[in-house]
């Protein structure tokens, strides 16, 4: 489902994009300025959250449509790879770029915390929140798998449309209720990744696929 050469190229392209670089630096700067005793949760404080959201938007903007507009998508799709692996590769590339920016911001936060004399324990960050967010991510991936494979396995291509329609109703319609159950630490980060990044992924996937389909027929 994922073409890694495409993913690496997409990540490289996005990490060289001036808007992404600017927002990513702001995101890291917020972590550095606020790094303190909260084990890095400051990275995703109020300002950090804004820059994280802007970053996801900047990474998503034109992720597929730029390639379609320039015609480079045609050249790539002429290679021996499927459309799904191209789309998956572009999305994974944006994910890699986002992961790099998050890692940079965490490093900046940790460095700032250490400079101010606060202990920064990565182990405490990794424990809480994993189960909730991991289960949600797993469910999302499983649903995507079912959505793609079921019509193929059952040889019922007409199921694809209804499955996509059903999929749009899955996931939290109201993002606040799950929040109280999430532990501090890495939990909020994964919460953000799950509920900011995943809807963004889903939106890009659905809208750009529709655009792709329109342009190719």
């Amino acid at each position: 489902m994922i073409s890694w050469p495409v993913a690496r190229a997409a990540a490289g392209e996005k990490l060289r994009s001036p808007p992404v670089v600017a927002i990513g630096l702001c995101f890291a700067a917020v972590g550095a300025l606020r790094g303190g005793p909260e084990d890095g949760a400051e990275t995703f404080g109020s300002f950090g959250r804004v820059f994280f959201t802007l970053l996801t938007l900047a990474l998503g903007a034109g992720l597929l449509s730029d390639e379609l507009d320039t015609g480079h998508a045609q050249l790539v799709l002429l290679r021996p790879l499927t459309r799904a692996s191209w789309v998956g590769g572009r999305l994974a590339g944006a994910g890699l770029a986002l992961a790099f920016a998050v890692a940079l911001a965490w490093a900046a936060t940790a460095a700032a915390a250490a400079a101010r004399g606060h202990a920064f324990s990565a182990s405490r960050l990794l424990a809480p929140g994993w189960t909730n967010s991991g289960a949600v991510v797993l469910l999302g991936v499983s649903w995507l798998f079912v959505q793609v494979t079921l019509p193929l396995v059952m040889k019922r291509p007409e199921w694809a449309g209804p499955l996509v329609a059903v999929g749009s109703y899955l996931g939290p319609q109201e993002p606040l209720p799950p929040a109280p159950g999430v532990q501090p630490g890495l939990g909020p980060v994964l919460y953000d990744l799950t509920w900011t990044f995943t809807p963004w992924l889903a939106a890009v996937l659905l809208f750009n696929r529709r655009e792709l389909a329109r342009r190719r027929t």
Binding site: S3, P5, V6, R8, A9, G12, E13, K14, R16, S17, D66, E67, D69, T70, G71, H72, Q74, L75, V76, L77, L78, R79, P80, L81, T82, R216, T217
Partner: protein, 317 residues
Amino acid sequence: MSASAPTPNTTSNTTSTVLEVRGLRKVYRAPGGAQIVAVDDLSFSVRRGEIVALLGPNGAGKTTAMQLALRLLDPDAGEARLFGGDPELLDARRRVGYAPDAPLFPRQLTGLQILRLHGQLLGFTRSESVARAERFAGEMGFSDPARRPAGAYSRGQAQRLGLALALLGDPELVLLDEPTAGLDPAGVASMRALLVSLRARGAAVLLNSHLLSEVERVCDRVLFIKQGRVLREHLVRAGGRRAEVRLANPDQLRARLAQVLPDGTMEGDRFRIPVASEDVVPALVRRLVEAGGEILEVRLAGAELEQLYLQIVEGRA
């Protein structure tokens, strides 16, 4: 000998056929709802080791025909077969190269990075991709620009990158859409040499160009297209050039020339014969004079294709 046939050869399905399209039709819907028929009942084939050109006015459907042949567009009717199979099969895609007209690339990536990406997509290892990227950038004459982001490329540099991408996997079939557009004269000459070398190694080329002189020099076959239909197929003799000699005494020479220069044809007062290059024209003139010919005018029939084009496509006498 050069020949014109009123209908294209659409039935060829030998093992040497690398591309065959039959009855392709594509209709675009304009914003106002109007329908634009880009390609209509289009049929032709391309065989291994030949260079075929699509000639026609702007909007004739040449680019659409190429994209339909590769299934980069879905046809409304008809089918295309690459190497005897579905063009979307991954194996077929390993064996084909395509250079679009005026290509654009990701602005942030360098030419070498784009070439490496495509090398890896073709299945080459990372080190092979790096080596191929360097090699093809060099062969296309843009080694230095290839190290800069593609967003800063001129049209000619983007064209060279597009050509390098098309040739990166040593394809058996190459489709080139206006490959000389934006190239300087040296680039055009390189393109000509490239086409000849592709043919020499057995690759097939489908070419869309407006440079009639270049088409006539390198192509084996020309398909005249208008309003999405093949109007006529024209076979070009290897070498692509013909000498045209206007004679004062054609009737007296007709029988004699049929013996001494059997490749030639007499039409009215003009004797036409294929020539490998302009270097052989003096020898040809000597033989005509020795045969008793009274020569009024000699010219290389580089304009023949132009005349045919005007006659077939534009409907001029």
